[in-house]
C-alpha cells in the first residue's frame, strides 16, 4: 500500500462534466495534445503506427485541438493532454500497441479534463426514476386539498374490526329487507 491513496480525490461521475456544457453550444474541453515519442526504439512502435495512420485524420476531424509531435531520442513515449480547466494529464505509452494508443487518444478527446478521482459509486443514470419523483401528494386523495382540519374522515384508524353494535345493525337491516 502506498501513501498515494491518501491524497487521491474521491468523487462521483455525476460531478465530472463541466457545469451546463452543451445547454447552449457544446464547448470541447480538450485543447492541446503533445505526443512525445522516439523514432527508433521498440517501445514507441504503437505510437509511431498511430502517427503514420491516424494522426492526420485526427487533426482534421478535431480542429479545436492543437497537436504537437515531439520526437525525443531513446526516451519513453508519452501523451500529454491539456484541458480547458487547466488540467494536464500524462499517459505513458511504452510498449503499447496501436489499438491501445487509438483508444487512449479517443478517451482523452471525450474526457472533461477533471482530475482523476476514485469513484464512490459505480452506477449512474440520467433518468433517476421511471415512475416519477415522490412528492407529498403521491397516492393522496385530492379531496384533502379542499377539506378542513380536524376532519372526521381521518378520525378512525385503519384495520379496526367491526364492532358487535355495527354487526347487529347490519343483521337488523338484512332482516328488514327479507
Amino acid at each position: 500500500m502506498t501513501s498515494r491513496c491518501l491524497f487521491l480525490k474521491h468523487g462521483f461521475i455525476f460531478n465530472n462534466a463541466p457545469l451546463k456544457n452543451g445547454l447552449g453550444r457544446f464547448i470541447p474541453q480538450l485543447q492541446r495534445v503533445t505526443i512525445k515519442f522516439c523514432k527508433e526504439s521498440g517501445g514507441s512502435v504503437g505510437i509511431r503506427q498511430f502517427i503514420e495512420k491516424e494522426v492526420v485524420e485526427f487533426a482534421q476531424k478535431n480542429p479545436h485541438v492543437s497537436l504537437y509531435l515531439k520526437p525525443r531520442r531513446h526516451r519513453d513515449p508519452f501523451i500529454v493532454a491539456e484541458y480547458l480547466n487547466g488540467e494536464k494529464h500524462h499517459f505513458p505509452l511504452k510498449n503499447k500497441d496501436f489499438t491501445y494508443v487509438v483508444e487512449t487518444v479517443d478517451s482523452l478527446l471525450h474526457h472533461s479534463g477533471k482530475e482523476f478521482q476514485i469513484q464512490e459509486k459505480q452506477h449512474y443514470t440520467d433518468q433517476t426514476s421511471i415512475q416519477g419523483m415522490w412528492h407529498p401528494f403521491t397516492h393522496v386523495d385530492p379531496s384533502v386539498a379542499v377539506s378542513q382540519f380536524p376532519n372526521d374522515q381521518f378520525s378512525t384508524p385503519f384495520g379496526v374490526p367491526m364492532t358487535a353494535t355495527e354487526k347487529l345493525k347490519e343483521l337488523f337491516e338484512a332482516q328488514k329487507k327479507a
Partner: protein, 183 residues
C-alpha cells in the same frame, strides 16, 4: 426539467404540517406515530443525513388516556436546582396526574421527547411538535395543516352523543314483559 416538475421537487422537500387528535389516545403509542413523522421516516426520500421531518400539531392533549393506575404509578422526575444540603434536596418526583394538572401538554410532549433518540437532532425534531391542550389552535398554525394522522384507537361515542332518533331506531333485541318498569 419542466416548470411543473421543478415545483413538484420543491414540494417534495418542503415541510408538510400534520394534525393529530389526542382525544382518548394512549400518549406513548401516539408518540411512536408522531415521532415517525417528526423525523420524516414516513417519506420514501428519507435519509438520516437529510432533514426531511414534518411539523405535527397535536390537539386535545388534555384528554390523553393512560392505562389502569398509570396516572398514579407513573412518576416524572425533575430537579429544582437546590443542592442536596437543602431540606429534602432539589430532586422531585411527581406522579403523572400532578404533572398533567400543572401542564396538560407535558405528558404527550415528554412521551415524544423520550421516544426520540437523544442526540443533537432531538431538539430540532421537538421544535416541530406543537401541542395544544384543547381544540383551540391559533389560525396561523392551523392554516398550514394539510393532512391528518390517524389515531391509534377509535374514539367511542357516548350515549349522549347519539340523537334521540338514532336511539329509537336501534334494533330491539327482545320484548320487555308487561310488568317491566323502566326507570
Amino acid at each position: 426539467m419542466s416548470k411543473f416538475q421543478r415545483v413538484q421537487q420543491w414540494s417534495s422537500l418542503a415541510r408538510t404540517w400534520w394534525l393529530y387528535d389526542a382525544q382518548w389516545q394512549n400518549p406513548f403509542q401516539s408518540a411512536k406515530k408522531i415521532t415517525r413523522v417528526l423525523q420524516g421516516l414516513h417519506k420514501p426520500i428519507y435519509s438520516p443525513t437529510m432533514d426531511v421531518g414534518d411539523h405535527v400539531v397535536v390537539i386535545n392533549s388534555q384528554d390523553v388516556a393512560l392505562l389502569g393506575r398509570e396516572w398514579q404509578m407513573r412518576v416524572y422526575f425533575h430537579h429544582t436546582g437546590y443542592p442536596k444540603t437543602h431540606y429534602k434536596g432539589g430532586a422531585r418526583w411527581i406522579p403523572a396526574w400532578e404533572l398533567h394538572s400543572r401542564d396538560p401538554t407535558l405528558v404527550l410532549w415528554k412521551a415524544c421527547y423520550n421516544n426520540l433518540y437523544g442526540d443533537i437532532h432531538r431538539k430540532g425534531f421537538m421544535a416541530r411538535l406543537h401541542v395544544y391542550p384543547n381544540s383551540e389552535v391559533p389560525d396561523e398554525i392551523l392554516c398550514n395543516v394539510s393532512g391528518q394522522i390517524r389515531p391509534v384507537k377509535p374514539v367511542p361515542k357516548k350515549l349522549e352523543e347519539y340523537s334521540p332518533e338514532e336511539r329509537q331506531t336501534f334494533p330491539q333485541l327482545w320484548d320487555f314483559p308487561e310488568s317491566y318498569t323502566q326507570r
